[in-house]
C-alpha cells in the first residue's frame, strides 16, 4: 500500500493549521492546550511518514515520535496544572481575562 508522501504532508500541514487556528481563536486555556496537542500530533505523523523512507536507521523517526509523545504528556501535565492554578486563583481561564500580571 504505497501512499505518496506529499499527500501525507499536505494532510499534516492542514491538520497543523487547524490546530494553529484552534490555538489562535480559542478563548479557553484548556482549548488552547487541546489545539496544541493536535499540532503536536500533526508533526508526529510527519515523523512517521518520513521515517519509513529514511535509509540508515528507520527506527529513529519512531523513537523521535515516542519521545515527542512523552514530552507532550509532560507539557500537558504541567500546562494543565498551571491552568488549574490560574483558575483557582482567578476564577477564570479565559485568556483575554488573564492578561494582567497582577489580579
Amino acid at each position: 500500500m504505497h501512499i505518496p508522501i506529499d499527500h501525507i504532508l499536505v494532510f499534516t500541514s492542514i491538520l497543523f493549521l487547524i490546530g494553529l487556528y484552534g490555538a489562535l481563536s480559542r478563548r479557553n486555556a484548556v482549548g488552547i492546550l487541546i489545539s496544541i496537542e493536535i499540532m503536536l500530533n500533526a508533526v508526529n505523523v510527519n515523523f512517521i511518514a518520513f521515517s519509513r523512507s529514511f535509509a540508515s536507521s528507520p527506527e529513529s523517526g519512531q523513537i523521535f515520535v515516542m519521545f515527542a509523545i512523552v514530552l507532550a504528556a509532560a507539557t500537558a501535565a504541567v500546562g494543565l496544572a498551571i491552568v488549574l492554578n490560574i483558575y483557582r486563583n482567578q476564577k477564570t481561564i479565559y485568556t483575554d481575562e488573564i492578561h494582567l500580571l497582577k489580579w
Binding site: 490555538a23 489562535l24 481563536s25 486555556a29 488552547i32 485568556t95 483575554d96 492578561h99 494582567l100 500580571l101
Partner: protein, 637 residues
Amino acid sequence: MVTQAILIPLLPLISFTMIIFFGKKLGTKSALIAIAASVGSCLLSASVVLPVILNHGTALHASLTWLMINGKPIEFGILVDPLSSVMLFVVTFVGSLIVIYSVGYMHNDPRFSRFFAYLSLFLFSMLGLVLSSTLVQMYFFWELVGLCSYFLIGFWFEKYEAAQAGRKAFITNRIGDVGFFLGIALFFYTTGTIRFIDITPEFMHPYANTAVLTFATILLFCGAIGKSAQVPLHVWLPDAMEGPTPVSALIHAATMVVAGVFMVARLWPVLETFPNASQTIAVVGTTTAFLGAFFAITQFDIKKVLAYSTISQLGFMITALGVGGMGAGTFHLMTHAFFKALLFLGAGSIIHGTGTQDMREMGGLRKAMPNTFWPLCIATIAIAGVPPLSGFWSKDEILTSAYLGNHRVIFWILMITAMMTSFYMFRLLFLTFAGKTRGHIHAHESPAVMTLPLAVLAIGSVLIGLPGSPFMGHWFQHFLEPHAAVHMDTFVMIMSVASATIGFIIAFICYFVKTDLPQHLAGQFWMFYDASRNKLWFDEIYNSTFIHAFKWISRISFRFDSNVIDRTVNEIGRKTVLTSRIKRWIDQYIVDGLVNFVGFSAQVSSGLLRMIQTGFVQNYLLFMVVGLLVMLLVAVK
C-alpha cells in the same frame, strides 16, 4: 649597711603611703606613724653615720644603673660620706622634733592626717636628696622637695594668699631648677660623668680652665639660687610664711633651703678648680645676706622677720662656700638649722598662743608664756653670735675664712650684716616678750608637746657649736675636710663679739628704754625705712617687668592664635564649602542629568515596546505565525 641606708628614706615614704590610703580611718593616729617613721630614720641614720665617723670618713657607696646614654651610665645609688652624714643627722633629728611639735600645732585641723602625709613625703625626698650619689638622682629629689614645699606652703589652699604663695614658690624654684638641669646636662656632656665619687680634685684638674665648665658650674649654682632663696629668686620665701609654722620651721629653716648649700658643698672640687665661678658665688651670697638683714629690720610680722633672717643666714653660708670655707659653711648650716628651727617653733607657739602674727599687737608675753620665752631667748642669743653659743662659732668661722681669703669688702659687709642680725633679733625679742601687751590678746602657754621640742632644740643650739669650736680642736671641720688648715683669728673674734653687742644695745635702746625712737628714726631715714619696709620693691619690680612681659606675651600669642590661626582655619573651611557647592552643582546638573537622560530614554523606548505586550496569549501566537509567514516568504523567494 646598704639596706639600712636605703631604709632611711623609705620609712617616711612608707608612712606617707600608709597615711594617704588609711588617713581618714587613722585620724589623729596618723601623726604616730609619721613620728615613728622620722624617729626610725633618725636612729637608722645614726647607725649609718657612726661607722663613717669612726673610720674617718670612709664613704659608703652603692648604685645601680638606671639608663645608658651613648654608653655612659646614669645611676641611682646611695652615697654616705661625711658631708651627707652631717646632713642626715641634721635632717632626721630636727625633722622628727618638728613632726612631734606639729602634732600639737595642727591639733584641730580638718586635714590633720594629710599634713603628716606631706611631712613624711618631704622627709623622704629630703633624705633621698641627701643620700643621692649622682647629680641626676639629686635633681630628681630636688624636684620632689620643690613639690612638697608647694603642697605644704599651699596647705590651707582655701586661703587665696596661701594658694598664690604655693604657686609662686613652685615657679621660682622651677626657674632655678631649669638652670640646674642645664648645668647637669652641660656637666655630663663635657665630663662624661655625674657621679659625686668621681668628682674629685684630681679628676677635675684636666678640665681646669675650660669656659664651658665654668658656665656649667654657674648654671648649677642657679639651682642653688632658686632653692636657697638667694637674691634674684628670694621673693618666694617671705610669702611661703603663709604655710603652717612647723612647715616654715622644717622647710624654710632647717632642710630644704639648705639643699642648695649642700649641693654647692657636694660640688666643692669643681668650685676649687674654677676660682671665678666661686667668686661670683661669694658675691651673690654676700648681697643676699646684707639685703636679707636690711629687709628684716623693718618687718612687723614675726614670721616675715624670721624669713628674712633665714635669707641672710643662707647668704652667709653661700659666701662661706664662695670664699673657700666649705667646712665653715656646712658648720654654720648645722648650727643655723638648730636655732632657726627653734626660733620658728617658738614663733609658732606664740602665734598658737596669741592667735596673731603681728608683733605690734604682742608684748609682755614673758610672764604668760615662760616655757616659750626661755628657749626663744637662748635662740636669739645664739643667732646674734654671742660667744659661748653655737651661732658665734659658725659665724666666726665664716668671717675668718673670708678674712683669711682676704676678701676685704666681703668681710666688712658680713660684719655689718652680723650687727644688723643681732639688732633685729633682739628687736623681735623685746617687741614680743618685753613691755606691755599692746593688742587685746590673752596669751596662753602652749601644751607640753610643743614646749618640749623647744627645750630640746635650745639645748641643741647651745651644744651643737662645740664640735666645730677650738675646744674640740675644730673636729667638725677636719671631719669634713681631713687635710684643711683651720685656725682661729683673734681680731675677727673680737670684731664679731663687738658687732653683736652693738646690735643688742641699739635694740635695747629702741624697744626697751625709748619705745618711740623707732618712729622717730623711721621718720628721719624715711628713704631707708621705706626701702626696707617694701623689700626694695622686688615683688613690684618683678610684677611690672617679668610677669607683666610674660602676660603681654601670652596676650599677644592668644591674639595671634585667635586672629591668624583661627581665621586661616575658618578661611579654609569657607573655601571648601565654596568648592563643594560648585561640585554639588556639577554633580546635580551634569552627572544626574546624564543618568536621568538614560532613564528617560529607556522609558520612552519601553513605552513603545509596551504596546506589544498585550497580555493576550493568542496575540503572541499570532506574532509567531506572522514571523513564520515572513520567514517562509523569504525562504520561498
